[in-house]
Symmetry: C2
Subunit: 302 residues, 2 copies
């Protein structure tokens, strides 16, 4: 099966209690693609960057089986840039800089063969752009997942609800699920969000793990407790990439397989936070991933 990932490819500057990283590779689509690359090929990437993006980083993605024909390179533009600072509580961060740059002109055009990708992961973007991608798909997708955030609920709720009605899996955090549904209880929030369209709801809770809801069924995956969470940037996107990659590889969207996919995503996210940027995600071995999955089993099974 093939996986289409649409979202940002970016530069980040990050400060955490453990150190600083300036102008490193970031972006939801980058993290998600690396995570999924351990499971499925091809990964059809759709994004936009400027001429400042290092060619060797593109090569590294291609070497991992990421198809970059859908990546637009604006020769006169600069790549999307985000700078942020995390506090001791890594669940909280301040955004210092957001330079949209080329992202302001993002007008995703899918190469013809991308349109029949069976699995689709729409990263956090304006609901208009997410809709534009949905409109280009051939309609035979097995599963479409969409990530969004409170910002779009604040300024583009109607369009967001329209887009959400067309997808299968919504991934948001707990506060966003409460905002979108108007319900404090996540169980009640899930019911209301199911009624908006998505058969599956993934609620990401950062260091407190993730919940999967579908038609009265619930599954919970913890985050792996780590001695040091070095940099949480991209953890949610890595999780989503691992989750969708696992489903695409197994071509099985039953609830019981989704549970395994959630664990796989959590395992990949646990690697992501151990180093800055995509450093840890670039060269994982099968043994490392298997050992990490064993840790999750020990952590949750009794």
């Amino acid at each position: 099966m093939s996986l289409l990932t649409v979202g940002t490819v970016a530069f980040d500057s990050i400060e955490t209690p453990y150190g600083k990283a300036e102008q490193v590779i970031g972006g939801a689509c980058t993290y998600a693609s690396y995570a999924a690359s351990y499971l499925v090929k091809p990964i059809n990437l759709v994004s936009i960057i400027g001429a400042d993006f290092p060619p060797e980083e593109l090569q590294a993605m291609e070497d991992r089986g990421v198809d970059l024909r859908g990546l637009e390179i604006k020769r006169n533009g600069k790549t999307f840039f985000w700078a942020g600072k995390y506090h001791t509580n890594m669940n909280q961060r301040d955004t210092l800089v957001t330079d949209l740059n080329v992202l302001d002109d993002f007008n995703p055009i899918l190469p013809e063969d991308y349109k029949k990708s069976e699995f689709v992961l729409l990263g956090n973007l304006t609901p208009e752009i997410q809709e534009q991608v949905l409109d280009q798909l051939d309609g035979n997708q097995k599963l479409i997942a969409l990530d969004t955030m409170n910002f779009w609920m604040d300024i583009a709720l109607d369009k967001l609800i329209e887009v959400i009605s067309r997808i299968d899996v919504l991934t948001i955090n707990d506060e966003e699920a409460r905002q979108l549904s108007g319900e404090y209880s996540l169980v009640k929030a899930a019911e209301k969000i199911h009624a908006m369209g998505p058969k599956y709801l993934v609620i990401k809770k950062g260091e407190h793990g993730a919940l999967l809801f579908s038609e009265g069924e619930i599954f919970f995956a913890p985050a792996l407790p780590l001695a040091e969470v070095f940099d949480p940037t991209g953890a949610g996107d890595t999780f989503a990439g691992g989750f969708m990659g696992y489903l695409a590889k197994s071509n099985d969207v039953t609830f019981s397989n989704m549970k395994k996919a959630i664990i796989y995503g959590s395992a990949m996210a646990s690697f992501c936070v151990e180093k800055f940027s995509i450093e840890k995600l670039k060269n994982l071995t099968e043994e490392e991933i298997e050992a990490r999955l064993d840790k999750f089993r020990a952590l949750t099974h009794y």
Copy 2:
């Protein structure tokens, strides 16, 4: 095996977004004893109340196998009273009233046969009183668990550390684990707390579940997502009672059995929060408890 529970038996007045309950039965020892009563007999209770405590409530506890010979009744005193109000986020509450009343004179004297209780649960009390109980035990205990809170870390840290060095299982919440250890990472906090004495550390995270640490091993149990958390008062004590009751019943303190005990405690806590006070804990059937345990398995196993 027998279980000794020492702690408060109290009146509570509680306000939650779902309603109000005035002058209802509360207290850590009450909740813990009810939870454990589904597993083990006798439960040797040590606490203090005033003449205002309803005799029928004492009878109800005795009917569930709770031995009240260690319960001091001050004929001229009033029972400990706590009033609190919860916000929409049930993890936060305001204490409105704390009337220590008879608790101010609590001087626990263990009946002779209580001193050889194999399992001991020391509820949140002044470290001095907790020490007084430890001093009376015969020294042949299988497992001693102790609950405490940030308040004692603020005002009686030295004495608390002395008491902690003498017990096997410490149960605190995540912020308290951070305060006690000076480490933000819970993995590092656990290492430091193990070095203080307790072989086991249980970190309670409310709606985000609980973590069990022991010598490099970690287990995580989620809280059951519920449509309505009616009243969280006593959930932590119910959890501790279910946990220790399970261990006492099985007389097995291996890590793998502790995992099951954590799940049992979580299941009992999930009942506790469904109604005010001890209402839901008074008359559970074996079938209800089994069905709840099945829900935990579905929630966590893959």
